[in-house]
């Protein structure tokens, strides 16, 4: 019960006296939770057959369940109501007004959900795997959460993670509560949700604009620009680049050529994107051409020879790994590595990279050390920050946020958890940070200009506050929400070809997944 007491103490450190917005409250709770969790030993350490039985019994038959991470025990609470003053989890609640008490109750419930999720993750992918226990815990979670799409913000978040874990249990294709397969019927929904996300947050614009500005600067005097894009998606990034090119002062705008790398099955949608981009370019009077280039069928590896290069053009490579609209299957390490190292073969001027930022500091390292559970918790932390950010910026637009959560973020969460799970099982790790990989490979850093940095700051300035941008390296901007770093955009220069043999050896032996 020591942990419970600690939690109480931690709560008392929260600043309740100010009229705390829900997001502040959650942020505080998350931080405290993370600290208390970090101290906790693995759930399974104390487990044996008898404990499991007790556990299952208590979960199945309990009206209300508390999970104590320190002992790994589920238990029935002494006092049924969280609003009561005798609850050990919220000793401070006594001092609060009614509102705060209710919030404290919510918060305690949120903590409970988190603990349950962690327990489930532990059961699924921790040291001692026990799928049956995981199943039971997920059932319990679903009971607590009710139907998908309803409930408080934190309940919806927990719901998606529950779904993701359920998907792992069921194996193979993750089936979500809303059956969110990307098909033709859903396309309107997906696109609309994507637009909402773009309007409500800087997540997509940040990466696109930073990369585009770097491309503009690197090709300032060129007459022909060739962009090789790793993931063309809807082509949204290039609209603003074209606008910038078309409105360049001076003579006519340079010719822009885009080569989209496609995976098997992606040809049709890429073609559609190409048409849309061409139409947009025409509306600007921007000279433009579009072509596709296939990645290798099974390995999805990039071959520089497949890209048509024109003499005299400035070639740049764009690699946005931050998942965009659809719950597209993630890129394999080998695929990304082959693309990035292909920049050497192609003699690219710059390589722009947008990727999710891994956490930093002791907490994150501890999380890493805990394998799948650690990564699970890291993703939970990441997406709770995203949830918070959307809610803080648009507290009144619950319905819009729910759509974005369901259509865009939910699938992403499933993808991330699946990715983390498979990484655990497979040999040879995954690349957490492609930026670090590129540094190790000898890629040079291209400084982020003041214009670019200023642009990012102004972009964030459109929102209420809470977002921040940091320049963590001369060539890298990181977007974060409050204390959590979320996304990074960096600019690189490929090393000279003399290093090519080194890259090849990495590519083949260390990152071969299939």
């Amino acid at each position: 019960m020591e942990v419970a007491m600690d939690e109480g103490n931690d709560f008392s450190r929260c600043n309740f006296s100010t009229a705390a917005a829900m997001d502040d409250y959650f942020a505080c709770a998350w931080n405290n939770w993370e600290q208390s969790v970090a101290d906790v030993g693995p759930f399974s350490a104390s487990a044996d057959a008898d404990d499991f039985h007790d556990l299952v019994e208590s979960i199945v038959f309990a009206d209300d369940v508390d999970y104590d991470p320190s002992t790994g025990h589920f238990s029935l609470p002494q006092s049924p109501s969280y609003n009561s003053n005798t609850s050990t989890c919220t000793p401070v609640a006594e001092e609060e007004e009614h509102n705060a008490t209710a919030t404290a109750g919510n918060d305690a419930k949120g903590l409970r959900l988190v603990h349950l999720l962690e327990a489930a993750a532990e059961a699924l992918g921790g040291v001692h795997k026990c799928p049956d226990l995981a199943r039971v815990i997920l059932v319990r979670l679903r009971e607590l959460l009710g139907r998908g799409g309803e409930g408080t913000s934190i309940e919806r978040l927990a719901g998606h993670f529950t779904d993701a874990l359920q998907g792992l249990l069921d194996g193979g294709r993750t089936s979500l509560r809303d059956g969110g397969q990307h098909n033709h019927n859903n396309k309107m929904e997906v696109l609309t949700a994507f637009q909402l996300l773009q309007d409500m947050s800087p997540y997509t614009k940040f990466g696109h604009f930073t990369a585009n500005q770097a491309i503009l600067e690197a090709t300032a005097v060129d007459r022909r620009i060739h962009v090789v894009d790793f993931e063309i998606a809807e082509g949204v990034q290039w609209a603003s680049l074209m606008q910038a090119l078309a409105s360049r002062p001076g003579t006519s705008s340079p010719h822009l050529r885009i080569t989209a790398m496609i995976r098997s099955g992606g040809s049709r949608s890429a073609q559609e994107t190409g048409r849309l981009l061409a139409a947009y370019a025409a509306s600007l009077g921007q000279p433009f051409s579009f072509s596709q280039c296939r990645l290798e069928a099974n390995s999805e590896r990039f071959r520089a020879a497949g890209v048509k290069v024109v003499k005299g053009e400035a070639l740049v490579m764009n690699c946005v790994l931050h998942p965009t609209t659809t719950a597209a299957r993630r890129r394999t390490t080998g695929s990304v590595a082959s693309f990035l190292s292909g920049s050497v073969d192609l003699g690219a001027r710059v390589v722009t990279l947008v990727e999710e930022e891994v956490g930093e500091g002791e907490e994150a390292e501890e999380e890493q050390g805990r394998g799948f559970v650690g990564r699970f918790m890291a993703e939970l932390g990441r997406y709770s920050a995203v949830w918070d950010s959307l809610e803080a910026e648009f507290p009144m637009q619950g319905q819009a946020r729910a759509v974005v959560e369901r259509v865009i973020l939910g699938p992403r969460i499933a993808g991330a958890i699946g990715h983390a799970f498979r990484a655990e099982e497979e040999e040879g790790g995954q690349v957490e940070s492609w930026g670090e990989w590129m540094t190790a490979m000898g890629f040079g850093k291209v400084s982020i200009s003041c214009f670019n940095h200023c642009q990012a700051k102004l972009l964030l300035g459109l929102f209420k506050g809470g977002y921040k941008v940091e320049e963590t390296a001369t060539n890298k901007l990181v977007l974060g929400w409050k204390t959590r770093r979320l996304l990074s955009a960096s600019v690189w220069k490929p090393p000279s070809p003399v290093l090519l043999p080194v890259i090849d050896s990495f590519e083949d032996s260390d990152f071969l997944f299939d």
């Binding site: 033709h184 019927n185 396309k187 309107m188 929904e189 696109l191 609309t192 994507f194 637009q195 909402l196 773009q198 309007d199 409500m200 614009k205 696109h208 604009f209 585009n212 600067e217 300032a220 005097v221 809807e234 082509g235 949204v236 609209a239 603003s240 074209m242 606008q243 910038a244 409105s247 559609e272 849309l276 139409a279 947009y280 648009f394 009144m396 637009q397 619950g398 319905q399 819009a400 759509v403 400084s447 200009s449 003041c450 214009f451 200023c454 642009q455 102004l458 972009l459 300035g461 459109l462 929102f463 209420k464 506050g465 001369t474």
Partner: protein, 336 residues
């Protein structure tokens, strides 16, 4: 030794105790050659410059070194932060390989310089510049600060255009998807999807043309700004350039503006517009700002030639490209 010296309120720009005023060049015992009369300036001899370059390299290059650290490393008496600051800036500029990026880089150097050395550069600069520096350097600093403000305006302008571009493109994607859907699925399914889109449009926050609306009589006009943020924060972004450059604070308005006649969710029938916030002190001349006051009865509209909406009606996002152009034309003209 040096920090103490430079903190003394100087009667002369040279804080060295060994400095003597003289009509000609003087070699102080620190080895500094100080020109004098009427404005004492430090002359960067080859030797001094070499020491400077050594110090800079020691510190990891011109981008990593700061005047303060250079000063410490060089350990030269009589050298002040301001000498080093301007010299470092010139040094950085001189090292730039890409001359064609001049505009950006010269600003960059100035801005980086300013950022490094002053926390709230503009205010501190303004106040202490004239006290601490002598005429020419103060003037130069002021120019840099002004340049920085102008640059920020530039960036803001570009950002606005880029956001609009992206919004326009998104609109085209949505249109195309809807057309495809209507063609492939027939009108019923399309109607269903449209219903969904219609709901979404009600929720539509803003897009490239998100502030254009049709009312029931299909008269085209620009919507008023309906805020739904708590009063302490009024940030608005629209495609309308008329609102750039002004932070609009909407205080006191509590009641949400309900668009649907039968609104199931009051919360979600609100249109939210976010505006570009200009940092205080930035010159906002050249941008015309028309504050719009939300009013349940009287919809003030942003631009001229628009009709009053006397009855709340369902929002629709305007998708017709021609009208978009027309409206954009109006916006640009109005902006002057």
């Amino acid at each position: 030794m040096f920090p103490a010296a430079s903190r003394k309120p100087p009667s002369t720009p040279m804080n060295s105790s060994s400095h003597e005023r003289a009509p000609m060049c003087v070699q102080g015992d620190s080895g500094l050659v100080l020109t004098t009369d009427p404005k004492p300036r430090l002359r960067w001899t080859a030797e001094l410059h070499d020491r400077f370059v050594d110090a800079v390299n020691q510190l990891g290059g011109p981008d990593k070194a700061t005047p303060k650290t250079i000063m410490r490393v060089m350990g030269v008496k009589g050298l002040t932060l301001y000498h080093l600051k301007s010299h470092l800036q010139k040094f950085r500029l001189g090292k730039q390989p890409h001359r064609e990026f001049n505009d950006h880089y010269s600003f960059k150097e100035a801005a980086m310089d300013l950022q490094r050395n002053t926390a709230s550069s503009s205010r501190i600069m303004g106040r202490s510049m004239n006290e601490v520096l002598h005429g020419t350097e103060a003037h130069r600093m002021q120019l840099e600060v002004h340049r920085r403000f102008h640059e920020q305006l530039e960036v803001q302008k570009h950002l606005q255009i880029r956001i609009e571009a992206q919004g326009k493109y998104m609109q085209s994607i949505l249109e195309k998807a809807y057309q495809t859907l209507a063609a492939g699925q027939g009108t019923e399914a399309a109607g269903e999807q449209l219903g969904f889109v219609h709901d979404m449009a009600d929720l539509q926050l803003f897009g490239g043309t998100g502030d254009l609306q049709l009312d029931n009589s299909h008269q085209l006009h620009l919507g008023s700004i309906h805020h739904l943020q708590p009063p302490d924060h009024g940030l608005y972004l629209t495609a309308s350039p008329a609102l750039i450059g002004k932070k609009m604070i909407m205080a006191g308005e509590k009641s949400p503006f309900i668009w649907d006649d039968e609104a199931e969710d009051d919360d979600d029938s609100q249109l939210h517009n976010i505006g570009i916030d200009v940092a205080p002190g930035v010159i906002d001349g050249g941008y015309e700002a028309k504050p719009t006051i939300p009013n349940a009865d009287d919809d003030k509209l942003v631009l001229e030639g628009t009709a009053k909406m006397d009855r709340p009606s369902p929002l629709r996002v305007l998708n017709h490209p021609l009208s978009v152009e027309a409206i954009n034309g109006m916006l640009i003209n109005n902006r002057r």
